[in-house]
C-alpha cells in the first residue's frame, strides 16, 4: 500500500519533471545548448499565474494562457538577446555561462519584484480526490491533471515533430543547420520557435508544480530545473520520449527513495541514479548512438 501510494506520488511529481524536461530536451535537440535558465522560466510562469489568480482574481482559463504568453515572450527575448549573438561564438562554454547568468538574473528580478517571502499559490485544479482502498490511497485531482497534461504534451510534441512541416524543419535544423538552410529553412526562426515552445511548456509546468506544491519563491524553479535536466539526460537528451520516461522515472525514484531510504537524501539519490545510468549508458536510456556517416 505504501509502495503504491509512493509510486502514484512519484508519477505525479515525475509528470511535472517530464514537462520541464521536454522543454530542456527540445531546446537542446535543436539549438544544441543547455538552457540552464529554463527552470527559472518556470518560476516566472508561476509568479505570472499567481499575480493573475491570487492578486487580480482572474479566472484560471485566462491566467494559464496569459502566463504561457508571458513565458513565451520571455523565452524569445532570452534567445534573441542573450543566446543568438553567441551562437557563432568560438566556445559553447560562453553560451552555457550566459545561460547561468540569465538564470540568476531572473531569480534576482523576481526577488526585487516579489521579495523573498514564500507565497502560497492556490491550486488551479478543482477536482475531487479519488479515495481508493478505504482511504488507504488518495489520488488528488492535481495528480491526475499532472499525469494527463504530461501525456498530452508528450503526444502533441511527438505528433508535431514527426507530422508537421515545421516539426520536420526542426529535425532538419537539429541535424544539420547548414543543409537545413539549403532547403530554405530559416534556422534562426526555427530555433526561436523551439525556445517559444519550451517556455510555454515551462509556464504550464510552473502552474502545475505550484498547484501540487504550493510554496512559491524566486528559487522555486531552480531545483526542479536541475532535476528536469537530469531527467532529460537520464532519458537521452534530445529525445522527446526520453524526456518523458526520464522525468517519470526520476519522480518515482525520488519519492521512493525519500519514503524507503531517507527523506533527507532524496536529492542525493536522484543524482546518484544519474551517475550510475551515465556510467552504464552514456547516451541515456533512449539516447541515440551517434552513427557514422558513410
Amino acid at each position: 500500500m505504501r509502495f503504491l501510494a509512493s509510486l502514484i506520488n512519484g508519477i505525479s511529481l515525475g509528470s511535472v519533471y517530464a514537462i520541464i524536461a521536454l522543454g530542456y530536451t527540445m531546446v537542446y535537440g535543436i539549438a544544441k545548448m543547455l538552457n540552464f535558465a529554463h527552470g527559472d522560466v518556470i518560476m516566472v510562469g508561476a509568479y505570472a499565474a499567481f499575480v493573475m489568480l491570487n492578486q487580480i482574481g482572474l479566472p484560471v482559463y485566462v491566467a494559464i494562457p496569459v502566463s504561457m504568453v508571458v513565458c513565451t515572450v520571455l523565452g524569445l527575448v532570452i534567445e534573441r538577446f542573450a543566446y543568438r549573438p553567441l551562437r557563432k561564438a568560438a566556445s559553447p562554454l560562453a553560451v552555457l555561462i550566459t545561460a547561468i547568468g540569465v538564470s540568476y538574473l531572473l531569480q534576482n528580478l523576481a526577488l526585487l519584484i516579489f521579495g523573498a517571502n514564500t507565497r502560497s499559490f492556490s491550486s488551479v485544479v478543482h477536482l475531487k480526490s479519488l479515495r481508493l482502498f478505504d482511504g488507504g490511497i488518495i489520488i488528488t485531482g492535481e495528480m491526475i491533471v499532472n499525469a494527463v497534461v504530461c501525456v498530452a504534451i508528450m503526444a502533441g510534441l511527438t505528433l508535431f515533430v514527426n507530422k508537421t512541416k515545421q516539426g520536420q524543419a526542426m529535425r532538419a535544423v537539429s541535424e544539420d543547420k547548414g543543409a537545413a538552410q539549403l532547403m530554405g529553412i530559416n534556422a534562426n526562426g526555427t530555433i526561436a520557435l523551439t525556445f517559444a515552445i519550451g517556455a510555454a511548456l515551462a509556464a504550464v509546468a510552473g502552474v502545475l508544480m505550484c498547484s501540487s506544491y504550493p510554496a512559491l519563491t524566486p528559487y522555486t524553479g531552480a531545483m526542479p530545473g536541475i532535476k528536469a535536466f537530469v531527467a532529460a539526460v537520464f532519458g537521452g537528451i534530445g529525445s522527446i520520449p526520453g524526456a518523458f520516461i526520464g522525468g517519470i522515472l526520476l519522480g518515482v525514484i525520488e519519492v521512493l527513495g525519500k519514503s524507503y531510504i531517507s527523506s533527507q537524501l532524496g536529492d542525493a539519490i536522484v543524482f546518484s541514479v544519474l551517475i550510475i545510468v551515465l556510467l552504464v549508458k552514456p547516451t541515456g536510456i533512449l539516447g541515440k548512438n551517434i552513427q557514422e556517416k558513410v
Binding site: Q168, A169, A172, G178, A180, L182, M183, I185, V294
Partner: protein, 236 residues
Amino acid sequence: MAMLEVNELKVCYGVIQAIKGISFHVNEGEVVALIGANGAGKTTILHTITGLIGAQSGEILFEDKNITKTAGHKIVSMGMAHVPEGRRVFSELTVLQNLKLGAYTRKDKGEIERTLETVYERFPRLYERKNQIAGTMSGGEQQMLAMGRALMSHPKLILMDEPSMGLSPIFVNEIFDIIQKVSASGTTVLLVEQNAKKALTIADRAYVLETGRIVKEGAAESLLHDDAIRKAYLGE
C-alpha cells in the same frame, strides 16, 4: 544572358584568404564545371553563392538580382538549389521525409507531388527505398537522395559539389548520366568536381581554380585537350 554572375569575389575565413577575387558566369542552359585540387576553394565558392558563408567583397548576381547579402534560406525559393559536398542528407529522417524537405519552400501540394514523381522516375531506387532511414543507405544512394532532394525545389540552377566523391565507377557513371539528363530537362548546372575528366566530358565550359584564383577557363572540350590540364588534373 548570364543566369549566375560572380564578380571579383573574395572570401576569407578569419585571416585566411580562401578566395582571392574571382569572376565567372554560368549561362542559362549550360553545364559549367569548376575544377581544381583539394583546398582550391571550390566548396567555399558554392557556400558563398548559396549564402552559407558571407563574402568579404565582390558581388553575386542571380538572374540579375544581387544576392551577395541574401540570407541562405531565401536563396532556394529564388530557383537555386545546392547539392552539398558530402551529401549531408538528414540521416535520421526517411528518404521521403528528406525529399519533402527539399520542397520546403513550395506551397502547391499538387505540384510537389508531380515533382516527386519525376524525381522517382529519375531515381527509381529512391522510390523503392522511400521509407528507409536515410542514414542507413549506401553512399551512392545517399548521393542520389541529395540530388533528388535538391531537384524537389524545382530549381532553375543547380549547384553540385563533388557528386562523384567516394563512389564506385558504376555509380560515378550513373551520377554523371543523371546530371546530363537533369541538364537536358532544362536545368542549368554548375558542377564542382575532382573527377576532372568526367566533368569536362559532360560540361560546356569550365573554370580551373588554383588556391583561390581562376587560372584557366574555356570550352570544356579544349581544356580536355590542354596539355597543362592533362598533366595537372587528368593524371596523364
